[in-house]
């Protein structure tokens, strides 16, 4: 009897064995820490690792450089965060960025900077509206709808825009993005405070407004939201519109910061926007996520790309690492969601 019990208790199948008590209490403490803190801790660890490899990386300038890169990725990922919270996804972010950037540059001449800026945001809103209406009214899955929209936009971009004559970038866009400003004695690009302010506003909307909380209810349990009398379709469409507007805003910001635009300028944000959101602690199944977390996720990814650059590994390796990070994070968070 005893001998037969031994292999049974070591059975590889089924649930994990009873864990030592230390692990469960560590887990208990861990679960009290807000989820958006984890990416920041991960970022600090990576920052220190970078410092161990190259001591000259631990400087305020290097930190600001990484943060600036991260905040641009964050701005591009804010819309994605909102789409993911409501249990959707917005894979049209890359070409919404390109479309709005090119619309902006194309219309600066006829409409002036403010008019062109508004037109770019309206373009993003229309793209989001189409996504939202198709997803909630026709019942198509978000992943298919938005990836189709992304392809459609790419076609429109290639057909409509003439790349040979891109006008100069207006002054006020440069002023809010690439212009150097001094905050508390530190010199940074204006995009950094801009992005942080946007983060604060969005986080307040998500945490403390009826619409924000409804978005979480819809993402967490759409049927419960519907039977509770929430206007689920309207909330969903609103979420995609906001996602489109934010992606469009990101397009203008990217133009201002890098001072160039092309049809493929958004391509790298397809994977990285999802990665930033997921690393930031959002649940890909909806109902959980924060823009503060997304900024943390973007910081992690930015630090990874800094390390990749320092170690001279090349852009392909960077994509590979991003992919590994997404898988790792989803497997970690996904497991916790099941418990």
């Amino acid at each position: 009897m005893t001998s037969s019990a031994v292999p049974a208790s070591q059975s590889p199948a089924g649930e994990p064995r009873g864990k030592p008590l230390g692990w469960s209490s560590a887990r208990r403490v861990g679960s009290r820490v807000p989820r958006s803190i984890w990416p920041l801790i991960a970022f600090l660890v990576l920052f220190v690792i970078g410092g161990l490899i190259r001591p000259n990386l631990i400087t305020v300038d290097s930190l600001i450089g990484t943060a600036t890169f991260a905040i641009i990725l964050s701005i591009a990922s804010f819309g994605q965060t909102i789409a993911v919270i409501q249990a959707g996804i917005d894979l049209s972010v890359p070409n919404t960025i390109a479309f709005s950037a090119l619309t902006f540059l194309g219309l600066v001449g006829p409409l002036g900077p403010a008019g062109a800026f508004s037109a770019a945001l309206v373009a993003g809103a229309v793209i989001g509206l189409l996504n939202g209406v198709v997803i909630s009214k026709l019942g198509l899955t978000p992943i298919v709808t938005t990836i189709a929209m992304n392809g459609l936009l790419f076609g429109v971009i290639l057909l409509v825009f003439n790349f040979s004559e891109l006008t100069a970038i207006p002054e006020f866009i440069l002023a809010i993005t690439s212009a150097k400003i001094s905050v508390l004695g530190l010199e940074t690009a204006a995009v950094l405070p801009l992005g942080l302010a946007l983060m604060a506003v969005l986080q307040l909307v998500l945490s403390f407004t009826g619409w924000g909380r409804s978005l979480f209810v819809v993402g967490s349990a759409a049927e419960a939201a519907r039977l509770g009398g929430l206007p689920v379709d309207r909330i969903r469409i609103g979420g995609y519109v906001l996602s489109g507007v934010l992606a469009a805003f990101a397009g203008v910001v990217i133009v201002g910061y890098y001072q160039q635009a092309s049809a493929t300028m958004g391509a790298s944000y397809l994977l990285s926007s999802v990665a930033a959101v997921v690393v930031g602690g959002a649940s890909i199944f909806g109902g959980r996520g924060s823009v503060v977390g997304t900024v943390g996720g973007a910081l992690v990814l930015a630090q990874v790309s800094t390390l990749v650059a320092v170690l001279n590994l090349g852009a392909n390796i960077q994509q590979l690492i991003y992919g590994v990070i997404i898988l790792l994070v989803i497997s970690l968070y996904g497991r916790r969601a099941n418990n």
């Binding site: 037969s4 292999p7 049974a8 059975s11 089924g14 649930e15 909380r213 049927e223």
Partner: protein
């Protein structure tokens, strides 16, 4: 156990012919011995030292309030949960912890309340799932034939093996789940609230199966809140309270009241409040010739402060009626008014605005956002896009939230606890509580007391009666005939999507309700 592990690698046997290892147990000794079972989840001790045994051919009931640890014990026996300490032996052999597969190989099968069926698969696929070794080919045709035979053998000819499980009624899904557990010809069958959605004929069917199984020497662990069922089927029973065995009983040696006191740890009687006297003749809701999918022309009139019971067998249009009245399913009617205002083609959003509230059938999927807090779940219908939400809103509504949590005695650490962490009965209270004191005209209840413990039921009855006193009209579909008879002013029994009988006054008896649900219209 070693041979069982070898057995895991070779294709498992077809349904009905499992290759159970022949344990060295003789009929005289206990089939199942559980000793000092302990299970803790972090700081929470769900089960703290439970011991019991079950003899061959015996039906052992496990009773207790929600959160008493019944389900955890059942899951440990099924191998779905690993005990923190303690031991379980089946037929003299220790059970492999935490492995459902090994438990099954030892002849233990389980049917859970939270259904373990794949909703997108057909009945046939779900029935062959447990024995379908992944290395063996799968034939739709053969599985349908096998499933049809199985359903025939178990006297369930009305279930189509080709139907997708998600399209079946909850009761039918439970029947499939039980049939799946029975298909393995278990030595020990665990039924964890498996009868919670079954109607009286369904329960009779289940008891027939249980008697067949025990006649062959199998044992059944029967977890239920329904004391009537336990009185009928259980040979012995153990009462769990706060994770410990609070007492044991044998057939015929107990009364409902004794058992309830034992479960609650205090003197408590099973008690149905009377419906309150009506003070007004105002009409809360009236609908003429309501038609929807599964509802074929229903006339209803509900007075303010009236509790209108909806009876009938599951699947005769009750769920559809409530959904149609709330606007969750498309419906048309010749005339339709709520509080005197004409309504047409309503949606849930409009219904809430008109003063209607709805407590849906499935609290986990349709009722709550489990990842959100208790307070926010109460506030779900009351979120307005341009108003505050989150914590500022919670603190502004603190008085209302505390009032609801207090009135329903919801066991929670406070409005900020995740609703997913609550027990089933407390979750149900949240789905109900969100409509309280919100100037509702009509509240539609879909079996709100299903699968919750006696004390929680009592608290809900009182809350329902209180609402009626305030003048709210209540339409209450219940699968428990006693609730309909005792707490409702009037009961409408549905049969095949229409009203077959309306019972009130002296005609409102349990027999009349059951009779009408079978399609018999009692003589007036």
């Amino acid at each position: 156990m070693t041979d069982a592990r070898v057995g895991a690698a070779v294709p498992a046997a077809a349904p009905g012919h499992p290759d159970l290892p022949d344990g060295p147990w003789s009929p005289g000794e206990a089939l199942l011995v559980a000793t000092d079972l302990v299970k803790s989840y972090g700081p929470v001790q769900a089960v703290q030292g439970v011991s019991f045994q079950c003899n061959p051919g015996e039906v052992l009931a496990l009773v207790g309030e929600n959160g008493a640890g019944k389900s955890t014990v059942a899951k440990m026996l099924a191998g779905a949960v690993t005990p923190t300490s303690g031991s379980i032996a089946v037929g003299g052999q220790p059970l492999a912890y935490g492995s459902v597969r090994q438990s099954r190989q030892s002849g233990v099968r389980c049917a859970f309340q939270e259904l373990a069926l794949v909703p997108d698969w057909t009945v046939a696929e779900n029935l062959s799932l447990p024995d379908g070794a992944p290395y063996r080919g799968f034939s739709q045709k053969k599985s349908v034939v096998a499933a049809a035979e199985l359903l025939e053998a178990f006297d369930l000819p009305h279930i189509d093996p080709r139907a997708t499980v998600g399209t079946l009624s909850l009761a039918d899904r439970q029947l499939v789940e039980i049939a799946r557990a029975l298909a393995g010809r278990p030595k020990l069958l665990i039924l964890d609230e498996a009868s919670s959605a079954l109607t009286p004929p369904g329960v009779a069917w289940l008891f027939q199966r249980i008697r067949e199984l025990t006649a062959e020497g199998g044992s059944v662990i029967y977890v239920s809140h329904r004391l009537g069922e336990i009185a009928e089927i259980a040979d012995r029973g153990a009462v769990l309270r706060d994770g410990k065995v609070a007492g044991e009983f044998t057939r015929g040696s107990w009364t409902d009241d004794q058992l309830i006191s034992l479960m609650a740890g205090r003197e408590a009687a099973r008690f149905f409040p009377d419906p309150p006297a009506r003070t007004t003749d105002a009409t809360a809701l009236s609908v003429a010739d309501l038609r929807s999918e599964g509802v074929h022309g229903i006339d209803l009139s509900l007075g303010a402060g009236e509790i209108l019971g909806i009876g009938g067998l599951q699947g005769h249009g009750q769920a559809e009626l409530l959904r149609a009245l709330f606007g969750a399913a498309p419906a048309t009617a010749d005339s339709w008014t709520v509080a005197g205002r004409a309504v047409s083609g309503t949606t849930p959003v409009r219904s809430v605005r008109h003063g209607v509230g709805y407590v849906p059938e499935d609290r986990k999927r349709e009722g709550l956002a489990l990842e959100m807090s208790v307070g926010e779940n109460l506030l779900v219908p009351w979120f307005k896009a341009y108003q505050l939400g989150g914590r500022p809103r919670l603190s502004r509504e603190r008085g209302w939230i505390d009032g609801i949590l207090g009135a329903l005695s919801v066991h929670t650490r406070g409005p900020n606890e995740l609703s997913g962490a609550l027990s089933g009965g407390n979750q149900q209270k949240l789905v109900f509580g969100r409509w309280m004191n919100r100037s509702r005209t009509v509240i539609l209840l879909h079996d709100p007391t299903r699968g919750i413990d006696v004390r929680a039921k009592q608290e809900l009855y009182e809350a329902i009666v209180d609402l009626a006193k305030q003048g709210v009209g209540i339409i209450w579909f219940s699968t428990e005939v006693e609730e309909l008879v005792h707490v409702c002013h009037r009961v409408v029994v549905l049969y095949q999507g229409t009203v077959i009988d309306e019972l009130t006054g002296v005609r409102l008896t349990g027999d009349a309700v059951v009779g009408a649900s079978m399609g018999l219209r009692a003589a007036a």
